[in-house]
Symmetry: C2
Subunit: 238 residues, 2 copies
Amino acid sequence: MKEASKRAHEPWKAFQARQRNQDIKRDAVLQTAAHMFLEQGYRRTSMSELAKRLQITKPALYYYFHNKEQILVECYRAGITLIETLLDKALVSRGTGLTKVKAYIEAYAKSVVLYDFGRCVAMLDENELSTETRKEVRALKRRIDASIRGYIEEGIADKSIAPCDAKLASFAMSGAINWIGTWYKPSGPLSGVEIAGRFTHLLTEGLHARTSTASRQNTITRTTPRKTSATKAGKASR
Amino acid sequence: MKEASKRAHEPWKAFQARQRNQDIKRDAVLQTAAHMFLEQGYRRTSMSELAKRLQITKPALYYYFHNKEQILVECYRAGITLIETLLDKALVSRGTGLTKVKAYIEAYAKSVVLYDFGRCVAMLDENELSTETRKEVRALKRRIDASIRGYIEEGIADKSIAPCDAKLASFAMSGAINWIGTWYKPSGPLSGVEIAGRFTHLLTEGLHARTSTASRQNTITRTTPRKTSATKAGKASR
């Protein structure tokens, strides 16, 4: 009876195994496509080239995706899911609005420097999408923007963040982070994690050197630079 | 004799007037092209459409520019000249490195929000250029990057800027400013000048609210938020 039941399950298991196998292959297509879009541009990447890079036939590629735009949309979706997952993880610990904004900036910067899908969200041109899918991608991006704006507002309310225009501030943070995609090279002297950390510090603390007296008097005559992690970071060779 | 001399100069004058007229027309082509590239994308803008928008024939358009790429390069050149002119003007007054960085951020942000050519430098995809012209555009952009990095280093040396990684900081500043092009609408509630001012404040002062005690103790328990221009700005309706 036990043996019979096992046999009865086998076709289903085989189906599941095939399904897993297909998911793995589909993911491989997406990963490679994301890499090629970032490397040489979406327009310049053809389905033929993608198939060649993956060492599969063109019909095999079309089995997974109808066209190039569908692949682009899926890259965006994967990127946005990744960013939201990283943000959720970063925000497990509670704290002030500023703590949350810091965790947010760090998680977002990591998603751009460490993952191709994250970099796709930051870098690829939405204008390549059809009107309908562009709407979807923009809605997803707005959700991310709304989160950071919410944390900034929370920080203003709990006084950990100086009163400011939360909308503009969120655009400034996102812009600085998205721009990482234009200059970041994985072979560069700083690791992605280091870049994320320094960006977080820069954007939340600003450039202005302050001593407690200088800060109160709003004067530019200073004697002691603020001792922060950036002090050490600035000295590290790059 | 006087009359003869006047007549002798007339063809030259006519030539100069014709030349001026041509320069004006060439500028009009560039202005309109920049606007269309930003509005609908470089790829989506055809020479035929551009001629139509300008109400001239296609041969007339080709009299001024050999091809679309030449127009794109000229838009970049005009934008970079504009940015450098604004930066030079902003830096007439001397001061600390921080003062210069502030002047720089404000001038750069203005060039992006107030001028289509400035926005072209921030927004258009260099990958559309041929290898040779791309090199030229990148060299021009590097010159701008080098300036801001220089001022940040100056600020670190004169202690007006907290020790930091000047290269990363310049990328963060440029990124935040270039990104303005993706969300800025001239019809929005804030003027370009207001946006430039708030960005300058945000990027140099950071988000962190500080009281002198909190700053020294590196604690998040604060009582009085810093009174800055952003306090007023934050209250303004948007």
